[in-house]
Symmetry: C2
Subunit: 171 residues, 2 copies
């Protein structure tokens, strides 16, 4: 509802997307070029050029004329933060909610830029909590899946939560 409050030097979602894309391309390509970024992001080459010019002014990327694209360490830091959010959200949507992979990816793309630190931390804890169970499928999570599918709450055995004690957080 109320106006979102990006700090004075906050990046736009678009800029963050460019950083993220460049970082990921850098992992799979020898060098990152304008056309690679354009193709991956589904935009035209001039859009990439102007976006990277803007990132350059902010000290987040370097790009010699007719040369390759590199991120500065600061640019890399931001790209990694955004991508970490992406992975976190993707994990929640797929592992917990059971959302289809492509849709989970799209939804993660949307949220990754703006999620608050508090919600982010809580989601991290939530995913950790879910994964604390040895078989990766906590009883209550199985119950949720069943409920989501059938609308009916399943009776479970009294043993269902006992395995919480088996984990590694006691020392």
């Amino acid at each position: 509802m109320s106006k979102s409050n990006p700090g004075p030097d906050a990046l736009t979602m678009s800029s963050e997307d460019y950083l993220e894309t460049i970082m990921l391309l850098d992992e799979t390509h020898d060098v990152v070029r304008v056309k690679d970024v354009a193709q991956k992001m589904g935009v035209k080459r001039p859009s990439v050029v102007s976006a990277i010019k803007s990132l350059g002014k902010k000290g987040l990327a370097v790009h010699e004329h007719y040369g390759f694209i590199k991120l500065t360490s600061e640019g890399m830091r931001i790209a990694e933060r955004v991508y970490a959010n992406h992975k976190l959200l993707y994990a929640f949507f797929t592992q917990v909610l059971g959302v289809n992979h492509e849709i989970a990816d799209r939804d993660a793309c949307m949220v990754e830029h703006n999620i608050s630190e508090e919600t982010r931390q809580k989601l991290i804890k939530f995913i950790e909590f879910v994964n604390k169970h040895p078989d990766k499928e906590a009883p209550w999570l199985l119950n949720f899946r069943h409920y989501a599918k059938t609308g009916k709450v399943r009776l479970c055995s009294p043993m269902d939560t006992a395995d919480a004690g088996k984990d590694d957080n006691s020392t």
Copy 2:
């Protein structure tokens, strides 16, 4: 990552925010005026005028010169959908993750416009599932809260999940 794909006549987040704000103001005020919307959204009056002009062209709002602002039934339908998303996300952030109220509200604002239908449906189920427990605090949820706070998984009594059977979905 990839370009989001709003349909040809999809509204912008901004337009949806205006619709939502107008709907909410309509519930508490006799009439909705430009300055009310401006105040609530933290924008200046000319921004409201131009936004509403745009909504008018799309058949979502009506606004006589120097008069009051009303939503059409179609505008109301969209406003309600966005607000429903908002409430859903807010409930998840606060009830499940235990996020602070103001932050939950901000995060909900960000996501409410673009969440996919699939994720939305799953979140609805998730909230329903959480609230199926008579005392509104499922054992696993209490365990999660404890884990989020302390980083330690709590041992629980074997009885903890048995109350799932007490609910109303068996027939």
